[in-house]
């Protein structure tokens, strides 16, 4: 059984549907990239998957022992975080919050988990640094480490490379690909179709045309061909191409 199954799913805000009739599956170990034009509902879809908003119609089923609160989610940056005084350690540790229930403090095991994930993201040396003083790439590593504290199974990333320079972007993709090799299922929104096609094994394209399938199928499909062409022509669509 798949980890996530979306059946005739429609997503949107406050009664307004932005994407309809989506059908797709995410199996354990997959690397799924969600692509599409701006405003096609990628972020809305992802927020629906992590149950921040309710589906307008259809359903999202979790299977294979995946609980909805076991997804590590990496949201887009908020304004609050820009001047938030918090150390890297504090933020990574907050990834363990779902394990706590009503228990007020973190256990030694949870602190260990946070430390391990910081090590994995090679940010241990930044542990006591202030989050707002880090570079964009370092901040994303911190949020990745936090997401890893929340999950052993699945990461959902909402444009993790937006605003990063090409070198850091490449590092970020390698990092995520490495996690995928370790067995963590990845669902990622990307503006950057070239990298999406390079790293992902499945593509979900939403917008005017909807496509879901493996990477090679996507490259053969009409939606894929058109989108690839558009991005290579117009430098503004694929920011990082």
């Amino acid at each position: 059984m798949a980890l996530i199954t979306a059946k005739d799913l429609s997503v949107g805000y406050g009664g307004q549907t932005v994407a309809e009739h989506l059908n797709f599956k995410v199996n354990s170990g997959d690397y799924l990239c969600i692509v599409g034009e701006n405003g096609s509902g990628k972020s809305t879809l992802v927020k629906t998957l992590v149950r921040l908003i309710k589906p307008v119609a259809g359903e999202v089923k979790f299977g294979d022992g995946l609980m909805a609160n076991e997804i590590g989610y990496l949201p887009q940056h908020t304004i609050v975080q820009r001047d938030f005084p918090a150390s890297v350690k504090e933020i990574v540790l907050s990834g363990c919050q779902s394990r706590m229930g009503l228990r007020p403090f973190y256990t030694g095991a949870e602190k260990k988990l946070a430390a391990d994930n910081m090590e994995k993201m090679s940010i241990t040396n930044l542990a006591d640094k202030c989050y707002r003083e880090l570079s964009g790439g370092q901040q994303q590593r911190v949020l990745l480490a936090r997401a890893l504290c929340a999950t052993q199974k699945m990461l959902i990333l909402d444009e993790p490379v937006s605003g990063l320079d090409p070198k850091v972007t490449a590092e970020m993709y390698e990092l995520v690909a490495g996690l995928n090799k370790e067995g963590i299922t990845i669902v990622m929104i990307s503006h950057d179709i070239k990298s999406a096609v390079e790293y992902a094994d499945h593509i979900l394209h939403i917008g005017n045309t909807i496509f879901f399938g493996s990477k090679s199928e996507y490259l053969q499909s009409k939606a894929g061909k058109i989108f690839m062409m558009m991005q290579s022509k117009d430098p503004h669509v694929g920011k990082l191409v």
Partner: protein, 292 residues
Amino acid sequence: MSESLFDASDGEQMMDKLSLYFAYPFVRYCVMVGVMIALCSSLLGVTLVLKRYSFIGDGLSHVAFGVMSVAAVLNLSNNMIIVLPGTILAAVLLLKTGQNAKIKGDAAIAMISVGALAFGYLIMNKFSTSSNLSGDVCSTLFGSTSILTLTSREVIICAILSFIVVVVFVLFYNKIFAVTFDETFARSVGTKADAYNLLIAVVIAVIIVLAMNLVGSLLISALVIFPALSSMRIFKTFKSVTVFSAIFSVVCAFLGIIISMLAGTPVGSTIVATDIVAFGICSLIGTLKGGR
């Protein structure tokens, strides 16, 4: 300590005056209550400032003024009975409207707070039996001398409420951090962010009602905001910011009360003035330290 700042006779005089004052229980009560309130109000300040909720505190304090004037008109012996629930209710409403109503957060707060001020004054003006109306209004707005006339029962109520606030804050510290830093992530892993926001709002309401005695409803926001802002200038982790703002707030309140006694100035505004001076010092330190 004072010897180093003043020459011997001045210092002695001040010390004499202070020890004379401290012989009176009401002065001790005042200092105790002041310190407790300062501690509580500083704890959630960081969260409020970061969540862009600073004005909720302001709005709520106006609501508390409105409710207080109703209590005054009804001649309730202990106005806490209706002021506390009334303010908590307003806090819950403000939070709910801020999230999903047609009138957006800041506008809703402005509306409710100004409305409560207007109605509060209207009610007081029309129905109050007091002979010194403007004095009553002024003391509710800017803090009263009532802090010097606290009964031991009021001190106990204040102590209990402060204790509850501190315990709640410590127990939920990690959750409050999580919800403040990234509400979206917190929700995605199943943290009941709405419940914690509600908790934060209720605790703020309690703090505001407490602080009203000390600095009056117009100046409460200062007690909430200045410690947090000052501490954010210098410190960089959530824990150190929180701890320092608590210390900052307590020290400023204590100094403010002492100064107001010695100089004969109003308690509330003296405390706020002390906060502002200390904020200036912290900003300076922050600038020197961080170069930003």
